[in-house]
Symmetry: C2
Subunit: 389 residues, 2 copies
């Protein structure tokens, strides 16, 4: 794209991720929204546009029209607020639309949120609803669930590269270690390799502790043109690239099961837009819906060569003291995965890190951060790159 204006994050807000029995979808979105507005030091009236990522409010909560709901409850009427949906990449897509709106001059100050309320239903119902991220007619209708689709990828990766289940398990152990340091994470406890390995099999070789949980939560960003950002915050974070790519909705039609082509294309385009390479990134929040998802991401984003991601995780190269930090927030695995909110949470985490507000999980000498959000088994991928403004 022709970038007309540079875009900055001037405010962030996030709810605790977890099981919020006492809060509905709108309560969560409102909480994150008010925090973001307060954090940006603006008045709601200054916001002139909004986007919100939500995957399945219709099925989870009987509520569509989430854009209007958010505009109403945040007191933003009559400004336009639009919901975007790309399964578990909904948050990342909302961020991208907000970025486009500010970059192009359509809006000046934009609220970009993500929200999902998932825990009101049974695990079986949630699994079926999440299946709508894949190919309903050729995958779900045939009995495939998301754990089973990612299990195919994991098994193929193990067969192709000789990776072990323990290597994948090490991703979960590492993300719980990070999540234990994140006060917004759903699970703030460390786990052992044995816990993962002995956990119940969901879809072999994926076990419960290879999988991200079912989560309620919301996150919100306030975006503004970079040139006015410093009048709102001392620590604006610039979004220097935004890229999105698509692939077949069904897994069976892909050329490869051991990489996600949309992630490769989106990240390649994002690096090009940012004028950097994967080697410049110190922190990446990647889409670890399952441990194999993180392994593939670290390869598709260029941090490790194909087949080396699982071993790199086992060798501690993706945590503090390693090559770079992957998922300082705890990732989807430990921080939780309220699907529509995840893409925004990633940007919130990166902003906290740039600001030096990440406490015990602070990444040192951070120059460039990256977020990577995937929809379904990889039919949508969206990548953003950030730096301190």
């Amino acid at each position: 794209m022709t970038k007309q204006r540079k875009v900055a994050i001037i405010g962030i807000g996030i709810t605790k991720f977890g099981e919020h029995w006492d809060k509905g979808l709108r309560d969560l979105a409102l909480e994150a929204g008010l925090k973001a507005v307060e954090d940006a030091g603006i008045h709601g009236e200054q916001i002139d546009g909004g986007y919100v990522g939500n995957m399945a409010g219709g099925n989870f909560a009987g509520q569509e029209h989430i854009g209007a709901l958010l505009a109403d409850y945040m007191g933003l009427d009559p400004i336009p607020v639009t919901r975007v949906e790309g399964a578990c990449a909904s948050g990342g897509l909302a961020l991208r639309q907000g970025y486009i709106a500010v970059a192009s001059g359509i809006h000046d100050i934009v609220a970009v949120g993500g929200v999902e309320k998932m825990t009101d239903l049974s695990t079986a119902d949630v699994t079926e609803i999440l299946g709508g991220a894949g190919d309903q007619e050729w995958e779900l209708f045939m009995g495939a669930t998301f754990p089973s689709l990612y299990a195919l990828m994991m098994r193929k990766y193990m067969a192709e590269y000789g990776a072990t289940e323990e290597q994948f398990a090490s991703v979960a152990v590492k993300n719980h270690k990070h999540g234990a340091l994140n006060p917004y994470a759903q699970y703030q406890n460390e786990i052992t390799l044995e816990t993962v390995m002995k956990s119940k099999v969901v879809a072999s070789p994926i076990k419960v502790f290879d999988a991200s949980p079912i989560t309620d939560g919301a996150a919100m960003l306030i975006l503004a043109p970079l040139d006015i950002a410093s009048s709102y915050t001392k620590k604006p974070i610039e979004i220097i690239a935004s890229a999105q790519a698509s692939d077949t909705i069904g897994l069976a039609e892909r050329y490869s099961l051991t990489s996600i082509e949309a992630s490769k294309i989106a990240s390649k385009n994002a690096y090009k837009e940012a004028g950097i390479t994967s080697k410049d990134i110190q922190l990446a929040e990647v889409h670890d819906c399952f441990t194999v998802g993180e392994v593939l991401a670290t390869e598709d984003l260029g941090f490790f060569k194909p087949g080396e991601g699982a071993k790199a995780a086992e060798d501690g190269r993706t945590t503090f003291g390693g090559d770079l930090v992957i998922n300082s927030s705890g990732g989807l695995k430990a921080a939780g995965h309220p699907v529509g909110a995840t893409g925004i949470k990633q940007a919130v985490e990166i902003t906290m890190q740039f600001r030096g507000d990440a406490g015990k999980r602070q990444v040192k000498d951070l120059e460039y951060g990256l977020s990577h959000n995937v929809g379904g088994s990889g039919a949508t991928a969206v990548v953003h790159i950030y730096k301190r403004a």
Copy 2:
């Protein structure tokens, strides 16, 4: 917004609207998409971005992630395709995002679609799902359905202005007269005032024939920068304004039940952007989900004064030979209302009219056209204005 580039419609495609027992959501979207690509005289590879409006694929068809689905089935991978949702305004919002993408230079040639597959479920289920367009917690959970919400508006209008049920019924008669001339319409038959008046009461005073039907269908546009549009088509149509506004999601919190504030604000902004007034419009495709919806629209958009819309319809001022033509397609009432597709269908109809391809329903001396798409009971409204390029 700062308009960087002028935007034109260079291709259109639409399925017959109706009950497609033999076709699923993807088949409908693909049919409209291929027609639009063929109509534009382009190759699919020339498309570099896409947006699709869909309200409730998750509930109607178990399918979310409609953007990726469309990218896949239209052979557009790896370009980004994003679903947007704003209840029954989803199509209009998709058009607006496509317009923004082209106007701002983010994309050059963009596919903008809308699709909904509704007839696989019972009327009761569809009614409940459509309820997700309103306030789930304060309206639907309490038993309100959309016919009942619009019935409140109709009753209030009748009480305030002394309008009659026959006047509203005349809207349905007029739209069936138009729909009878539209080969894509769900109902291509004329009806009498008596048919409407004697039809079953849904939510008094709304009767079955005051209401738009449950419909399957899809529509698609190809957008391009105006300066290259003439290399693709001899008859490019320019979109000269795009505006969206929000209001409270629940009806009870509105200041007025006899106008839709979001429609007023969106149209005011659109007229300003276009540099014209309501008097310049010869054709408007407006959101007649119920006959009262059309009456309010013709007032909110400035064609008639408050309280005069119902009588204007009865007096024939909204059909051929009147002040302007409202809903030459037959509107939602007769052409059908596949909710996510409606906003795109409106633009398809207006494009056909500008091209002189509207057959027996051709509007003569057309200079400016307008489309008006509403989500829920008015929590979202989006207005576009068109002229021959």
